[in-house]
Amino acid sequence: MDLATFKKDVWGREVILGASWDLLWLVTVAAFVIIAGHAIVMAVRRREPKPSSDGERIVRHRAADRIFHWVMAASVLVLLVTGVFPIIGIEFPWLTIHWISGLVLTAAVLFHIVRALFWQRLKCIWIRGRDFRELFDSSVKPGKYSIAQKAMHATVTVLVLLVIGSGLAMFAMIDTPWWDRSNSISEATLGWVFLVHGLSTLALIAVTALHIYFGLRPEKLFYTRSMISGWISKDELAANHDPERWSPGKSSS
């Protein structure tokens, strides 16, 4: 299966048109297989006792970060729906919604980057060599973020930056309230832009699916709760994290 589709440019030369949307099915199936596989494994595994959510509450996500997360989540979902549905035959005027949510996503991401750079400890989400021990030795507990969460964050970071970058370039090809299209990008370059946008979108579809799946897993549900209400319990902390590596302050409650 090809990664890209091709077209002729204005002078009849072959150039890239964009990502091959046959990949959409590949991606969907792949995501489904991984999720199903994981679910089965987890089902047969013996359940660990679920740590209690009562007692002392510890702040995991500040309001600003939670808002950022959900804004980003919403815009990504809207972008996926408006971007992909027309391709699978569900037709509606999608472009305007698409580029507006694209701008929302861009703003959110900028906000997050600035905040992360100047107000937060970058390295708590940075993957480091020793994190890998988590994978083999269940006694090794992570700091604030597990290696899985760090990996997810890293992947999303890369993909979203690619989508945003290519997406912004595409503004040269459409009219907006602020400017008219310029057709200034050569068709060959444009092809690459569309290809990057398409491929990173396809990857995002899979990653998003996994992210949602893990967020809904019973043993991980408290993380989702923390992304909504901000806190986790002392037990949850003890069961999943190494106090040496992450000892957050108590919540005011």
Binding site: V10, W11, G12, R13, N183
Partner: protein, 803 residues
């Protein structure tokens, strides 16, 4: 002219029956055994260099017979148009050809061939190339100069300020490469009461003849038989021989009918030679019928103008001075010359007391340009008419009067060296037209009716209309038939036939007893002129006259030799030569032909005059001994400019709400000396009228400047006028006063017939809009709407090849 027997009478052109029955054969209608069909691959890029041609995908294709590329052909040096090229300079330039058992297979093959082209800078607007730092249409330069000292490419640039000044409507200060003048220009403007100064644009457009030029060719014992679409017949041979790299005697051109020329098929052109080269390569007859789109590409187009003109008028309307500057859009192949022709037209039609012309022919990567019906004369006619009216208004002179006071007459002098004219009766033409049109009456009619406004226009057209020095050939055979050999092409004017009638007139013979030979080199045709520049009628009336006179002299000499006495004692009548005063002592043309064969020598073509062209010599050689041969070169005296004039009066109704106008009435008057073929003249005047209406309101090249793409490659997009875009009736007339330098007084008319029309219409539009001059052709619906609504036009000043 009733004292003539044939001149001035209608007749049945022998080819017309074939035209209404479908039996008339055009190049594409011939087919021979083993013939294969070619298709050409044309450049998708406005300017580039072919880096690779990959034909591997077609090598094994069933039915594909061969591929021809530029590498199979002798190199051609620019600006001459190559047959096939590896360095295309316009979209649509032929790069390769494929031959196959049928057209579909050839196209299937084309679809699989890969051609890689490296793009080069290109331009579709001369001013974009003329400005400093602008792209050049060719690597050799952006201007082509033709001077007596020598011709060649040059790179000419103006500063951005100079371009902006020009666009702003001011006198161009950039360099020009051609210039001529006469009289004292400054004095002329000093004497002027009113001076009109205008920038102007005439956008070029495609010829779009009905027949997409087709050619079929094969070789037989070293002789190449070409079935082509040609505007001329004999005149094509030298050029064709050069294109094929053979001697003239080894080329046979069959061109019985031609589906329109209008200047696009004057000389031998590359596409005509392609099948011959292809046939040489694959050893089979090859037919090439190009597509309509390709006819747009290579069928040539009118040169576009971006200019500035300043005209001074004395109080009585007399033109005291004219200063013209023209930037010519000459396409990629350095044709043109329209600019200077425009200047010459002004110098004779309005006869300014002083004048200057300056011009720059700039190359663009648009379709190749060529002569198109009134090349230069008609563009300037369209621009001048409203300017004359503007002056008339300011001087409070009648629009007809201002034309009459400047009208060309027998004393008019023309061009830079102010030559005399052979004759000119523009004033008479204006009077005749005004009467037919009822100028005074129409002028006083109410002008406004709801959203509709009436506009009246007077147009004047001119083109030089004659040449000399070509050959005539007539032959009388023992069966008494008079054979009129015509090397004139058949592009629809019937001049190939009408000009031979002067031979019949001289020979005092019955038309039904005449046989015209034409349309095939093997029919032994004399050397003839280019069927262009409206020259055929004048030129070949003379050539046929001298040939017929030669025959008459030979008849008399033969009679004297046979019946006694001197040739001078003899006269001719009723196809007999008899002794004056003793009609009994006579012999028939048939008997004279018999004797001519017996006598041989000059009489029956064993020998011939030394000054006739080799084409004619071969014809005579082949005819030797078949009868009495009358052959001669036209050495009749000729001096001065031979003018063809036409004037038109038109009434339009312009709808201010839709921007559309309807042409209600049209009167076209020819001033081309004696009328030799009334019906033929009328059709020329009407056809010219339609062309003028197309140029005035519809037709133009449109190119996308970013990608160099042509917008209008088809009939609909080109805006060729339909039945419903012209008046339901067209009226014509002719002054019919003989020209002294033509045996029967005729001059040509084809091109002026159009110039007067486009001029009348542009003037009428200006009249309907209270004298607003667009200084542009075509004047399209959008321009009128924007003007009426007080909106700016969409194009920037002097922009060309645009909507």
């Amino acid at each position: 002219m009733s004292n003539y027997r044939h001149i001035g009478k209608d007749f049945l052109p022998p080819d017309i029956v074939g035209k209404v029955t479908g039996k008339a054969k055009y190049a594409e209608d011939f087919s021979v055994d083993g013939m294969v069909f070619a298709r050409v691959y044309t450049s998708p890029m406005a300017h580039g260099r072919v880096t690779n041609i990959d034909t591997s995908a077609v090598a094994e294709m069933d039915g594909v017979v061969g591929i021809l590329t530029a590498d199979d052909l002798p190199p051609v040096e620019a600006p001459n148009a190559p047959i096939l090229t590896n360095s295309p300079a316009y979209i649509g330039e032929p790069i390769l050809a494929v031959a196959a058992v049928d057209e579909k297979t050839a196209e299937d093959a084309l679809a699989r061939i890969r051609v890689d082209i490296q793009p080069l800078p290109f331009t579709v607007d001369p001013l974009d190339s003329l400005v400093e730092g602008g792209p050049d249409a060719r690597e050799e330069g952006n201007v082509y100069v033709r001077t007596p000292e020598g011709s060649g490419f040059r790179t000419v640039k103006w500063t951005r300020e100079q371009i902006d000044e020009f666009r702003a409507g001011n006198e161009p200060t950039g360099v020009s490469v051609s210039e001529w003048s006469y009289g004292d220009l400054d004095q002329g403007f000093a004497n002027a009461k009113v001076i009109i100064e205008e920038p102007f644009v005439t956008v070029g457009y495609a010829h779009m003849s009905m027949e997409p030029r087709t050619a079929m060719a094969y070789w037989q014992n070293g002789v190449c038989y070409v079935y082509g679409s040609a505007q001329s017949q004999s005149f094509m041979i030298p050029g064709l021989a050069t294109l094929l790299g053979v001697e003239q005697k080894d080329v046979v051109l069959i061109s019985e009918n031609t589906g329109g020329g209008f200047g696009s098929k004057i000389g031998a052109y590359p596409m005509m030679a392609l099948p011959a080269w292809f046939s040489k390569k694959i050893g089979r007859p090859v037919q090439l019928r190009i597509t309509r789109e390709q006819e747009y590409y290579i069928g040539s187009a009118r040169v576009g103008f971006q200019g500035w003109i300043k005209v001074g008028f004395a109080a009585n309307g007399r033109v005291t001075a004219t200063d013209v500057f023209i930037v010519e859009d000459i396409g990629p192949n350095a044709t043109g010359g329209d600019g200077s022709s425009a200047g010459e037209a002004v110098s004779i039609v309005y006869d300014p007391e002083s004048m200057r012309f300056r011009g720059v022919p700039v190359l663009t990567n648009t379709t190749p340009r060529g002569a198109q019906r009134g090349p230069g004369q008609n563009q300037i006619a369209a621009i001048m008419a409203p300017i004359m009216d503007k002056a008339a208004k300011q001087l409070d002179v009648d629009r007809l009067e201002i034309r009459k006071i400047n009208a060309a007459h027998n004393g008019t002098t023309a061009n830079t060296d102010q030559e005399p004219v052979t004759s000119a009766y523009m004033k008479e033409a204006l009077d005749m037209g005004a009467a037919m049109f009822d100028w005074p009456g129409k002028r006083n009619k109410p002008r406004r009716n709801g959203s509709k406004v009436v506009g009246l226009g007077i147009g004047q057209g001119y083109h030089s209309a004659g040449a000399t020095g070509y050959d005539g050939l007539v032959r009388i055979t023992p069966d008494g038939k008079i054979h009129l050999h015509s090397g004139v092409g058949n592009l629809g004017t019937y001049s190939y036939a009408s000009t031979t009638r002067s031979a019949a007139e001289v020979l005092k013979c019955d038309w039904d007893n005449c046989v015209i030979h034409h349309g095939n080199t093997e029919a032994n045709l004399p050397w003839s002129s280019y069927q262009a520049g409206s020259n055929t009628s004048f030129t070949h009336q003379r050539a046929n006259y001298v040939a017929a006179m030669d025959a008459v002299n030979k008849l008399k000499e033969i009679a004297a030799a046979t019946l006694g006495g001197n040739a001078a004692d003899y006269d001719i009548a009723d196809e007999r030569v008899f002794r004056s005063g003793n009609p009994g002592q006579s012999m028939s043309y048939a008997q004279a032909a018999e004797r001519a064969i017996e006598l041989g020598g000059l009489y029956s073509g064993q020998t011939w005059p030394g000054d006739i062209h080799e084409v004619t010599q071969r014809a005579v050689q082949n005819l030797a001994g078949s009868g009495l041969i009358g052959v001669a070169k036209d050495n009749l005296p000729q001096e001065g400019v031979i003018p063809g004039f036409a004037v038109a009066f038109t009434e339009i109704e312009l709808d201010l709400e839709t921007g559309k106008y309807e042409i209600l009435d049209y009167v076209g008057i020819a001033e081309c000396g004696t009328v030799i073929h009334p019906q033929g003249l009328a059709t020329q005047m009407k056809g010219g009228a339609v062309w003028g209406m197309g140029m005035a309101g519809h037709e133009r090249h449109v190119y996308d400047p970013q990608n160099g793409l042509p917008a209008n490659v088809g009939y609909h997009q080109c805006g060729v006028p339909t039945y419903l875009d012209i008046p339901a009736n067209l009226r014509t007339g002719a002054v019919d006063l003989p020209d002294p330098q033509s045996p029967f007084g005729a001059r040509g008319i084809g091109e002026p017939a159009m110039g007067c029309s486009v001029a009348a219409v542009t003037a009428a539009v200006a009249d309907a809009l209270d004298g607003h001059v667009f200084n542009r052709t075509p004047i399209s619906v959008d321009m009128i709407l924007n003007h009426v609504a007080g909106r700016p036009q969409s194009f920037k000043p002097l922009q060309t090849n645009n909507y």
